[in-house]
């Protein structure tokens, strides 16, 4: 099949950027979307044109490195699918496709379709963990975990940190990403001790990083390639509100707790 692409080209973060049109003949239906771009890039290099920059790595939908907007939808808008797992059989001859990077203040463009998502790492560094120094763990079976809780934790832990939720959100909020981590750890007995601190610290860092507030529109859930449920945001709100009322300043007395 033959496709027409309009791709956002932007040399670097300072550049203004704009759409450029490309014709891609001979697209095979078995190709992945990124393989189609590989073929386009090979042709560009042979002509001496700068290839299109896009992030990708594992190409099996788990590393979270890839992602851009296809016709205004994050990862193309196919259920549970990252762009590296999207195959060309979903498109047809003559289609016109528009590609743009994630658009969010907290994700500045590096080049073309590649953006900087370091703000996500800073949110995890603020509190998205259980403090357990290496070597200090009890036996793995010492604390039974209800199967249902383990499954719910796993559902939320499936987040790949790609940023589609932010890109899909009209507010560019990171509520689904933050909620996924809060739910993952909050569903487990091991995650209870730091639950309040985690919610406060992660939400604070999210706001600092320039993500806007959640207004419960739900675009994030629709766009999430790992199908993280909107209910994780309710858990953030629940944990955050509770913590905001009950958390007390840490004692300054040495050795307390």
């Amino acid at each position: 099949m033959k496709l027409t692409l309009h791709v956002w080209r932007q040399k670097n973060a300072q550049d203004r950027g704009g759409m450029v049109r490309y014709e891609v003949p001979n697209v095979n239906e078995h190709m992945s979307f990124l393989e189609m771009l590989d073929v386009l890039n090979e042709g560009l290099i042979e002509k001496g044109d700068d290839p299109i920059a896009f992030d990708h790595d594992c190409r099996e939908g788990i590393c979270g490195m890839c992602g851009f907007m296809i016709n205004g939808k994050a990862h193309g808008g196919f259920k549970g699918t990252t762009v590296c797992q999207l195959h060309m059989r979903h498109f047809k001859d003559g289609d016109v496709i528009y590609l743009e990077p994630w658009r969010a203040k907290a994700f500045p463009v590096i080049k073309d379709l590649a953006v900087n998502r370091a703000s996500f790492d800073r949110i995890i560094a603020a509190g998205g963990f259980i403090s357990v120094p290496t070597g200090s763990a009890p036996d793995g079976n010492a604390i039974p975990v209800r199967k249902q809780d383990a499954d719910l934790a796993m559902d939320a832990a499936a987040c790949i940190g790609c940023g589609a939720c932010v890109a899909a959100c009209p507010n560019a909020a990171a509520a689904l990403f933050v909620g996924a981590k809060i739910s993952h750890l909050g569903h487990l007995p091991q995650g209870q001790v730091e639950r309040d601190r985690r919610a406060l610290a992660m939400v604070q860092q999210m706001n600092l990083a320039g993500f806007a507030n959640c207004t419960n529109i739900g675009e994030c859930e629709a766009a999430c390639p790992k199908e993280i449920k909107l209910e994780v945001i309710a858990r953030t709100n629940h944990d955050y509100i509770k913590a905001a009322f009950t958390e007390r300043p840490e004692s300054t007395a040495a050795g307390a707790g």
């Binding site: 190409r59 490195m65 793995g140 079976n141």
Partner: protein, 637 residues
């Protein structure tokens, strides 16, 4: 050069404990005076950086991805082994040790493997405490499944995303240390050279992938945890960015490279669909718990699988290996699939594929149970192939997946360059000539969480490295070297893209140094690679400049190193005149077509040393002794 493994003497059950006690310590207040450089942020590197940061060292951690959470450990699907014996089915530390040594076809060091089996139990505890959502039984306790090469259920898993969950555990521990300021993270950085001062590893040269800036980072020790070199084949299950540059440039600075020809071809991957294909996708080995592998008995049978009656199907693994059946180790399953396809029994358009069929399991357990166990893998398969594996059997074919070879390390995980430690897939140490399923995650985390924190302290306390300035002559020389390579790649007025070279190189290595090797083929590969490499340097086209986000330039540097590594692989494969594990030399096989080892002449680790551009590498042997697991012809019948 003499290679000293430094495995402690005495009974193997006590070696690690004894060794840990004998290792020198650094007092907590002094640890922050030491700078440790960790390259790679996967299970091994991430766990190491986090654990060393917790101990109080000053750590700098580097990765090429945009975040440490994306290291390729994340893609491991099936599980992680541990000798917990939670299932009361006869598992023990000794059995895991035994299975691993046997699975590796008696080409691994006993002392290292025993320690790996010992610390496996701590890994599970650590990960559970971090919040890794392992699969649970209804009673709330941890669930297990079986993997190839074992007759016990010792594999812990988190759906089909075990690697992701373990990596996120290590990543969260790492981010916690970054938050505390003990670790400084440098994402989107390539390591381009190793800085060696007075014979000790003292730093690295990096290139920022954002803006091409070349920088020197000096430290008191360098830890490489940069993964394997499976992408030498171009098509592999590795992430596109996985590369050998860090270990290769360390090799060029004097670290020995051990057993480069020991590469693992994984039996269950989705077959290649076309020339444009950029990578291969693995279907977890865990599927072989419930899936049955078969081909039509009649060669060239093109009927759809459902219309081939039971008596015209050959369940060749169950037929040839009745006691392990579909769960034979990977090397054996891969070779068997190749043999069936070579004999014309292959399925699918290309004839390079065999069926992995879940019909019986769905009938026995119900679709619901199969979906619970493998749902995400089935979905992934359907997304890629457009076929529903609940209805039509999967088609699978072997693909490059893992590399057992890597930089040589001793029991302390230190390479032949003092102060250079190598962890995880980047080293050669634990899997011999074939790795068992669910053991890569185990080794990465064992090295990172439980071994390097002990052994690195002993090195620092004993070697007492002096301060090195960032503008030391060795550092300047390394920077000049890195800059020269980049410049050479950019100055070419060539015609061909980097990928076209990589694809051609990969095909040579796959055809002649893949699942089956022979003398004539290896010699052919050795005659084809050097001219192609020359053409690469003359005719490669890398556009743009160094001082920008330049993905072609990143790739070109990595492919340049794969050319040299490919040659060393073929040389090693030619030199090892026996078959063992993943290294199958067609000249050396039993009448039944199994690998025929030669323990009299080849029971050693082949460690190769760089002798300079254009000169043959020098071979040093570390002989292997087996005091606990007696080498025998591996049998899974």
């Amino acid at each position: 050069m003499e290679l000293r493994s430094n495995v402690p003497s005495g009974p193997i059950e006590q070696s690690w404990d004894k060794h840990k006690f004998e290792l020198k310590l650094i007092n907590p207040a002094n640890k922050r005076k030491y700078n440790i450089i960790v390259v790679g942020s996967g299970l091994a590197g991430g766990a190491a950086a986090a654990s060393l940061g917790e101990l109080g060292y000053n750590v700098q951690c580097f990765c090429y991805q945009d975040s440490p959470r994306r290291a390729h450990s994340i893609a491991a699907q099936g599980g992680i082994n541990a000798a917990k014996n939670y299932h009361n089915d006869g598992d023990s530390v000794f059995r895991l040790f035994y299975d691993t040594v046997k699975g590796g076809d008696f080409r691994a060091r006993e002392g290292n493997v025993y320690r790996l089996a010992q610390v496996s139990v701590n890994i599970i505890d650590q990960c559970v405490a971090q919040g890794v959502p392992f699969a649970r039984e209804y009673g709330g306790l941890l669930d297990n499944r079986s993997f190839g090469g074992a007759q016990v259920s010792r594999t812990f898993y988190a759906r089909g995303q075990t690697g992701q969950q373990l990596l996120l555990g290590a990543y969260q521990a790492l981010e916690r240390q970054i938050g505390h300021g003990t670790v400084k993270m440098y994402p989107r950085m390539d390591m381009l050279d190793l800085i060696v001062v007075d014979g000790q590893a003292r730093g690295i040269v990096t290139r920022s992938l954002y803006d091409g800036k070349i920088e020197v980072h000096v430290g008191d020790a360098v830890v490489l945890a940069t993964g394997g070199y499976g992408n030498v084949f171009y098509l592999s299950t590795n992430a596109k960015g996985c590369n050998a540059t860090a270990i290769w440039r360390a090799y060029r600075r004097g670290a020995l490279f051990a057993n480069p020809c020991f590469t693992q071809i994984h039996p269950t991957c989705i077959p290649v669909a076309g020339e444009y294909q950029s990578k291969l996708t693995l279907m977890s080995e865990s599927l072989r718990n419930d899936g049955r592998i078969w081909v039509p008995k009649k060669p060239g049978d093109k009927r759809p699988p459902a219309s081939i009656p039971e008596n015209e199907r050959d369940y060749y693994l169950e037929r040839r290996y009745p006691s392990f059946g579909n769960l034979v180790p990977r090397d054996i399953a891969s070779r068997a699939a190749k043999a069936e396809c070579d004999a014309g029994h292959g399925v699918g358009e290309s004839g390079l594929g065999v069926y992995l069929d879940f019909t019986d399991a769905i009938q026995r357990l119900g679709k619901h149970k199969i979906a619970e166990r493998y749902g995400n893998l089935f979905e992934m398969y359907e997304r890629i192939t457009g076929e529903d594996p609940y209805k039509v059997p999967m088609r699978i074919y072997p693909a490059s997946h893992y590399t057992m070879g890597g930089l040589w390390v001793d029991y302390n995980l230190m390479s032949t360059i003092p102060g250079l430690f190598v962890l995880g897939e980047a080293n050669f140490s634990d899997h011999g000539a074939n790795r068992l399923g669910a053991s890569a995650l185990m080794q990465g985390l064992a090295d990172g969480y439980f071994i390097i924190p002990y052994t690195i302290g002993n090195y620092l306390a004993t070697a007492k490295p002096a301060k090195v300035a960032a503008d030391a002559p060795a550092a300047k020389e390394a920077v000049a070297n890195a800059a020269a390579i980049t410049k050479k790649l950019l100055n070419g007025n060539g015609k061909r893209t980097v990928d076209s070279f990589h694809r051609e190189l990969g095909k040579i290595v796959w055809d002649y140094c893949g699942m089956a090797r022979n003398e004539a083929g290896l010699k052919k590969a050795l005659s084809l690679i050097p001219p192609l490499r020359e053409e690469f340097w003359k005719n490669v086209r890398v556009l743009g400049a160094n001082e920008e986000f330049n993905q072609s330039l990143e790739k070109a540097g990595r492919v340049a190193d794969f050319f040299e590594l490919a040659e060393l692989m073929c040389l090693d494969a030619l030199d090892r005149k026996e078959s063992c594990g993943g290294h199958f030399r067609e000249e050396y096989q039993t009448p039944e077509g199994e690998a025929l080892r030669d323990d009299t002449n080849y029971s050693y680790v082949a460690a190769w040393g760089y002798q300079g551009q254009g000169r043959a590498p020098a071979l040093t042997k570390e002989s292997l002794t087996f005091n606990y697991v007696k080498p025998s012809q591996r049998s899974y019948k």
